[in-house]
Amino acid sequence: MAAFSYLPKHSGSGEREAPTQLEIKLRRKARINAALRYFLLAAVGLVMVYPLIWLIGASFKTNSEMFSSPGFWPKNPTIQGYIDGWQTSTPYTFGRFFLNSLWIIIPKTIGTAISCTLVAYGFARFEFPGKKILFASVIATLLLPNVVTRIPQYLLFRDLGWLNTFLPLWVPSALAGDAFFVFMVIQFLRAIPRDMEEAARVDGANTLQTLVFIVVPMLMPALISVCLFQFMWTMNDFLGPLIYLSSVDKYPVSLALKLSIDTTEAFAWNQILAMSVLALAPSLAVFFMAQKYFIEGISTGGVKG
């Protein structure tokens, strides 16, 4: 009996010191598998980023090299594209267009965050007559293609005398016109228990105080995502400014890029690409700065809701 119980113990401790043939085989297989997986992922990833890498590389090329060599690495790196591109063919430098972009984006983003929070809070936490119909119409606008509303909107803003101002770009968003964001915040709110808000009400907070002191801090990850999306989409928005802005001094970056294509007879591709790289920079910078919250926001909003 004693010998019997001794045996497995012995072989057990032996196993730990020298792995068996099978174990070595399994381990090698796992390692090969992992290597294969990572190789595949890296390859696909590279295919995805390659245009971006090429863009950055090409922005340092001369205009003549652009189409003559397929590689992304410039033979004679130069920043002439950046210098010339920045000057533009208009009376304004590209800095002006960046400022215009910011001047569109910042009020719009702040307006979106505030209005979406208010509207989502109302839908998620209060009962009021007509709530179902109103909510359904919010969701319906989410499904509506943007193009459909362009013309009526244009006519409306024209009658208001808002053409060639930033108002048509700001106001709809500041009135929670972006149903997607409203929906996103509602989903996020639904996953947050009401207890804290009730505790705040018992503590003497009114509805607005509850919203500001309790709900908004808990909503932060979602709101950061909203702001990020709005920032990036507005930065890249081309159609909106194209329709409503007519004087060059109001142009944002997206239109200015197109401008340099329009006005030069022989396209100065290196300038265009250089400015494209600059145009990408703010979105990328903001994204990487807020990456942590951003991903938290999307995942909790999506999964729990």
Partner: protein, 374 residues
């Protein structure tokens, strides 16, 4: 600091479900009232109506001299402790405690003194600079308690505050809360408390009085002793007490001097002390005997039910004997020392009610008809 009155309070939810059916309840100043009942009996609903978190669809709630039906929670002079603490997740403990006072624009110095005092009482001084997610369940519940205490409310409301804690912590928190209540009373600022629980041990040990609820109705409001000794109906009798009271369908007849109870084919005579109160009653009734009030005797003894032992549960100092009497299950609690060791599963035993300790409930209304008329 104020009494609480519920007058015909009703609640119909938005979906048409009537959760509370016109209840009347008086909680005296400084009284510890426990609302107890099975799940879904509308304890929380009632409490939330008092708090103002749920609209009152009928009747009125008075705190002190004021009808508070239309007041927002913050103006009712109440504080509430929630089951899952409901601490503000993004605020440090210190701010959690002082949030209510800050909203009332109390001076900074006053807030600080109050925070210190409360955290001293609840022994949470070393936690003041933590976030709620860095607290254990017990600590979080103490902070939640502190958040209520700091406001010196007229009425404290608790909704199952201990049900997320483990058994040991629950016992110590129970003592802490009752001690706190006594302490406030001794300091001359008695706190009126409404405490919701579904745990009858909490109810019996903490409550000055207990309000037993069922399906949105109040079944009985009384102090723990009365509730245990003189339950008003079969529901209260079955709900209060461990193990549950034995409730058996019987027929009550009066042949001869003493009333007789017939269960199946077996008869027992009702003890003399009770007989007088039952003279008006006849026909089908429910007999209620607590497991502690049954005596194990030899099978066939006069005045005893005879049945078969179906299970024996040994609990240490006592034994629960399950006995089947013609289809009806009885539980008997016998001190271990007194139990005949030879009794085993399948054996025949006699069960004799001890003296006048039985209750007779009307079979239809469930009302206890064996209570002394006083």
């Amino acid at each position: 600091m104020a009494e609480l009155q519920l007058r015909g309070v009703e609640k119909t939810y938005g979906n048409g479900f009537k959760a509370v059916h016109g209840i009347n309840l008086d909680v005296a100043e400084g009284e510890f009232m426990v609302l107890v009942g099975p799940s879904g009996c509308a304890k929380s609903t009632t409490l939330r109506m008092i708090a103002g978190l749920e609209t009152i669809t009928g009747g009125e709630v008075k705190i002190g001299e004021q009808v508070v039906n239309e007041l927002v929670p913050g103006r009712r002079g109440i504080a509430m402790v929630f089951q899952n603490y409901a601490l503000y997740p993004h605020m440090k403990v210190r701010r959690n405690l002082s949030f209510g006072l800050k909203l009332k624009r109390k001076p900074k110095a006053e807030i600080e003194t109050a925070t210190e005092e409360v955290s001293g009482i609840l022994e949470i001084e070393q936690l003041l600079d933590r976030l709620p997610k860095q607290l254990s369940g017990g600590q979080a519940q103490r902070v939640a308690l502190g958040r209520a205490l700091i406001k010196h409310p007229e009425v404290f409301l608790f909704d199952e505050p201990l049900s997320n804690l483990d058994a040991k912590l629950r016992a110590s928190m129970r003592v802490r809360i009752t001690d706190l209540h006594k302490r406030l009373r001794d300091e001359g600022r008695p706190a009126t408390v409404v405490y919701v629980t579904h745990d009858q041990v909490e109810a019996m040990t903490m409550g000055d009085r207990i309000c037993v609820m069922k399906d949105g109705h109040i079944m009985q409001v009384a102090d723990p002793t009365t509730l245990y000794e003189r339950p008003a109906n079969d529901f209260v009798a079955g709900f209060i007490g461990m193990p549950e009271m034995n409730l058996v369908k019987c027929v009550l007849t009066h042949d001869g001097a003493l009333p007789v109870l017939t269960a199946g084919t077996q008869k027992i005579t009702v003890a003399e002390g009770l007989a007088g109160r039952l003279s008006a009653q006849e026909g089908p009734v429910t007999l209620g005997i607590r497991p502690q009030h049954l005596q194990v005797v030899a099978p066939g003894t006069e005045g005893a039910f005879t049945g078969t032992v179906s299970n024996i549960e040994f609990l240490g100092h006592e034994v629960n004997l399950h006995v089947e009497v013609e289809g009806a299950q009885f539980v008997v609690v016998v001190p271990s020392a007194e139990l005949d060791k030879k009794i085993g599963r399948g054996d025949q035993v006699g069960l004799r009610p001890l003296g006048a300790s039985i209750h007779i409930f009307d079979a239809e209304s469930g009302v206890n008809v064996s209570l002394p008329a006083d």
